[in-house]
Subunit: 254 residues, 2 copies
Amino acid sequence: MESVFSPDALTGSGPLYLQLQRRIVEAMQDGRLAPGNSLPAERDIAAMTGLSRVTVRKAVEGLVASGQLVQKRGSGTFVAARVERLEQALSLLTSFTEDMARRGKSVESVWLSRAVHSPSPEEVMALGLGAGDRVARLERVRRSDGVPLAIERASLSTRVLPHPELVDTSLYALLETMGNRPVRAVQRISAANLGARDADLLGVVPGAAGLKIERIGYLPSGRVVEFTRSLYRGDAYDFAVELKLAADSERTTG
Amino acid sequence: MESVFSPDALTGSGPLYLQLQRRIVEAMQDGRLAPGNSLPAERDIAAMTGLSRVTVRKAVEGLVASGQLVQKRGSGTFVAARVERLEQALSLLTSFTEDMARRGKSVESVWLSRAVHSPSPEEVMALGLGAGDRVARLERVRRSDGVPLAIERASLSTRVLPHPELVDTSLYALLETMGNRPVRAVQRISAANLGARDADLLGVVPGAAGLKIERIGYLPSGRVVEFTRSLYRGDAYDFAVELKLAADSERTTG
DNA sequence: TAGTGGTCTAGACCACCAA
DNA sequence: TGGTGGTCTAGACCACTAC
């Protein structure tokens, strides 16, 4: 433990903050710093290493940004707990609730908003709204076993969901009872660094990588039902897809 | 322009570096700072705003991390160029080369490595190798129209690819000539912050969000052909998927 | 209340780039 | 060579947490 923050061994090449960072990472890898362990206070590390506190902070900063350390103001700096990685099959149209239930995980939703609004231009486009149409917006943080996994922002025409406040756990379950459950959807997946607000909601550091998914769900008739933008924690989620050879795939759309 | 860095208007609430950051973002959004424009030198911004250089750097740091600004040592700080976002259909098994050709983009590969190695434990698992088997490793940076888009690290048994140095542009094209082109693949998609080396290869800042894709490709016989780990630039790539209702999908595996 | 991280300053030297 | 970003220091005050 002392060896991690000893003043010697800071004799390597490169910036001092990177050398210190490297030593902390090594200590975490070989178990000298285990998940949950706290690091000495920044001022103490500075005194032990002979560096300034600013330099120590810069070393720690990078590890906090990559999720390996967690800082709590007034409390201390801790080695982050490992997050179990969940995997979701991407080829099936399932809801988050159903998906988690299937693998025996609890699901909690923290509602941020459930109300009717005037549509944004983006929503008008995606949902194919007419003049005067209004949208139901559902915004929530999805948790499983207490760990926040995703932020979900769904928009639906009030014609399919006039009373968004009735949605409890599963949006798809409610849509099903009204005969409006989508049977087909198109998703776009990309990655983005999370902003301050979203990172906060997901319990990660601003700038952490998130999986951004935009989904448009269709009824059998081809009408659009839902337009959902989700942000998944990059460190906690995997999507699995099965692909087939191009020439091999049947054309179901022709 | 001066208004962005004027000493007044730093009267809002919250940390000074966030207030300055917000003003820079606003200037980029309304075009007062256009892509390619340079910002004043850090020391000048400090003088103009009445802040210390350290505080100015902290404001800029966040925007560099999220890819909105680019810093060049000895040269200056610049508003980042916007990167056109490409979209790839995820339901078809195509190669990068074919994919880009289809949309009229040029493709360049920068080879980092093309050689035969002893397999790592991970490769033994994924490829189902036996004792004594060796692997061909292909590592390259994929560029389109000069912009680096992805890092691709492919591993194949030397039984299907004895001479990796023969791979020129398209791995799949070569495999096809040998009757070893995969017809099916399973992918896992997640997001991760890019490390220093990978970020450098992709021309983005360390910590930027990347789309991580692991793919295992199969022959018609069910044998594994390739194990590929790719990292796509999160700001330049979109994957599109079409989903179908669970109960609706035919079971082809039963 | 004592200790922690969060912010901020003024000033310094170095490495790199362009003219 | 002069200007730029990159690193580093010593010291200060604030906000929050735990006791």
